[in-house]
């Protein structure tokens, strides 16, 4: 979680300094959902990643170094500079490069789950998506197909209440995304997405269920973006009381308090932070130093 938070803040800074091209969608504030979910997965389990995917990728084990290089558009990036922030991922740690079209990753995750079932590999895939995504037909079809075929996929909704500037209450008449699970005969849970332990527990149960052939689960994690939708969005459309209440409930601060309650010491936490900073310093330095992709390779990887 600390790595995610500091990675995002660092990226923001680098972006403002003009070192990162393209656009970025930061996930700070949503660390507990990404971390809790990925902790419940094995290395050879998979995740699919959203447009707001840095945190998800880091949680699954994509290195800060390879991701930073990707954001810089360098040849050493996890996608060789072809993907960028919107498509980060690393299959070697089970993170499918991100899909930036809202809703499009849900059927793909469902198909990955089909492959595990057919090949009997015991793997599970977690499909991350946002509250706004649950209004897309692609998502609906996937939920239904996963349910009728009992596929090993866990649908993990990062419900941060907003899709860009649009509040969830303006886009659905049900209060929770998980209220839609019943339409597919699938279990649905709404949980505190800022509590990594709650996320871990719920996702772990869903993963066990999936792995043992019990089929998919929808887990809706209530959380919040600490920033705007993307780098240039001041998010002034959000009501102050809502923002204040959520920002006060910082998942990292809260978990810190929990940990300091007899589990870890201040010194240990400090070490984590220092390690993270060192890791990020190294990642940035490596990314800056790395070569750009050779334009002569630009036609590689279109066909196999």
């Amino acid at each position: 979680m600390v790595l995610i938070r500091r990675f995002e803040l660092r990226v923001n800074e680098l972006f403002l300094r003009g070192l990162i091209p393209g656009t970025i969608h930061l996930s700070h504030g949503q660390e507990a959902t990404a971390a809790g979910t990925c902790l419940a997965l094995e290395t050879n389990d998979r995740i699919t990643i959203t447009h707001r995917g840095h945190g998800q990728a880091l949680a699954k084990g994509v290195t800060a170094e390879s991701m930073m290089a990707e954001l810089f558009g360098k040849a050493t990036g996890c996608c060789g500079g072809r993907g960028g922030s919107l498509h980060v991922g690393d299959m070697s740690v089970g993170a499918l490069p991100a899909i930036a079209i809202v809703g499009a990753s849900s059927p793909i995750a469902t198909g990955m789950a089909l492959a595990y079932k057919r090949k009997n590999t015991g793997q599970v895939v977690a499909n991350f998506f946002g509250d706004g995504t649950a209004n897309k037909g692609d998502w609906h079809e996937s939920m239904n197909l996963a349910a009728i075929w009992d596929l090993p996929v866990v649908f993990v909704c990062e419900n941060n209440l907003w899709a860009v500037s649009t509040h969830i209450s303006d886009t659905m008449r049900v209060e929770h995304v998980a209220d839609r699970a019943v339409a597919y005969g699938m279990p649905g849970h709404t949980i505190d997405g800022n509590d990594p332990v709650a996320v871990y527990d719920t996702v772990a149960t869903a993963v066990d269920r999936a792995r043992s052939g019990g089929g998919p689960t929808l887990v809706e994690c209530l959380t919040y973006r600490r920033g705007g939708h993307k780098r240039d969005d001041p998010a002034t459309y959000r009501p102050t009381e809502e923002v204040d209440a959520w920002l006060a409930d910082d998942p990292i601060e809260r978990f810190r308090t929990t940990l300091l309650n007899g589990i870890m010491t201040h010194a240990q936490l400090k070490t984590i932070e220092e390690d993270v900073d060192a890791e990020l310093d190294a990642a940035v330095a490596a990314a800056e130093a790395a070569p750009v992709p050779d334009p002569r390779t630009v036609e590689d990887h279109v066909y196999g």
Binding site: L96, P97, P107, S142
Partner: protein, 336 residues
């Protein structure tokens, strides 16, 4: 060859899929109502032979099951997705254009998407929403391969190549050329043909086939239009006009070299394409020849295409839209 092996295209396809499924456990097929064979009976008998795990009847959820095909392919399966009418793939266009075709590239080669779509294409008397030329709709999308077989021999060999390809393949067969029971089969004389028994042959993508050799004019045509062109060519032969008819067989990759070599010989080019006039493979080939082979041309490049209208239902109107043998013949005569 064994004369009893005079097959229809759907028979060739069925053999190809069956042999591939026997050869490779990772090949499976899904689609709507394929348990009873699907719309063109492509999977007739497969449910009994292979069971519901490898012959998956889907709900009407094209985005869902096309996306599932992409996901399963990423994870090492080789899905074949059967469409009742290729037209319905348009409802899942994002999964084709933005996902299947791009994931390899945007991941820097980390994933691949070996996935075959079996797509009935073209007009067959069912009106505007069941008559799209899918090979036109998706022609310009980098990352896809597009196959348009016109004979059972080609269909079988190309289908095996499609299943073994590491790329997403749109396998487009004209609705009038399958020869499925209960369906109209056009040009039976040229659209059925001998297929060797028990031979595991494949036909590579990007290699055109000269279906009829000639010296006066080059005609490039595929699908139903190939058969119409062959008919015209044999008629004109009686008059001493020698027409070379080239079947590109795959549109992506396209064997431009064979076309240019033929034009170098004949000096004249007619492209016959059932898609509408605006765009499609025939516009692309005309443009390429106008750039790379202009010096060989003794006459304008003629294109014979459908009119730029949605497809009408009434048979007489459909005929007026789609290129007829008369249209093809007239185009040839215009430049000879």
């Amino acid at each position: 060859m064994d004369e009893s092996r005079n097959l229809t295209i759907v028979q060739g396809l069925r053999e190809a899929l069956r042999e591939e499924m026997l050869r490779d456990e990772s090949v499976f097929v899904m689609g709507e109502d394929i348990g009873i064979g699907g719309s063109f009976l492509f999977t007739l008998g497969f449910l009994d032979e292979f069971g519901p795990e490898r012959v998956m009847n889907t709900p009407i959820s094209e985005v869902g099951f096309v996306g599932m095909g992409v996901g399963a392919a990423i994870e090492g399966m080789r899905p074949v997705i059967d469409f009742q009418y290729g037209d319905f793939l348009i409802t899942a266009a994002d999964q084709v254009i933005q996902q299947a075709a791009k994931l390899r590239y945007m991941s820097g080669g980390q994933v691949e998407v070996p996935l075959v779509f079996q797509l009935p294409t073209g007009a067959s008397g069912r009106g505007a929403q069941h008559s799209n030329s899918l090979e036109t709709v998706f022609f310009g999308v980098p990352g896809l391969e597009i196959v348009t077989p016109s004979s059972p021999y080609d269909a079988k060999g190309l289908f095996k190549s499609a299943v073994r390809s590491q790329n997403p393949v749109l396998f487009c067969v004209h609705k009038h050329l399958y020869g499925s029971r209960g369906r109209n089969l056009a040009h039976r004389d040229t659209s059925t043909g001998l297929v060797p028994d028990g031979e595991d042959y494949t036909i590579p993508f990007g290699v055109a086939d000269i279906k009829r050799a000639g010296t006066d004019v080059t005609v490039v045509a595929n699908l139903l239009m190939l058969h119409r062109s062959l008919k015209v060519a044999s008629g004109l032969a009686d008059e001493g006009i020698s027409v070379e008819v080239i079947d590109p067989r795959t549109l992506v990759p396209f064997d431009l070299d064979s076309v240019i070599a033929s034009v170098e010989k004949t000096g004249r080019l007619v492209l016959v394409d059932e898609g509408p006039r605006k765009g499609g493979w025939s516009a692309h080939v005309a443009a390429e020849v106008a750039e790379k082979g202009l010096m060989y041309l003794d006459a304008p490049i003629e294109r014979v295409t459908s009119l730029d209208t949605p497809m009408p239902y009434a048979p007489g109107l459909e005929e007026a839209v789609v290129p007829s043998t008369d249209d093809i013949e007239a185009a040839i005569r215009r430049i000879i």
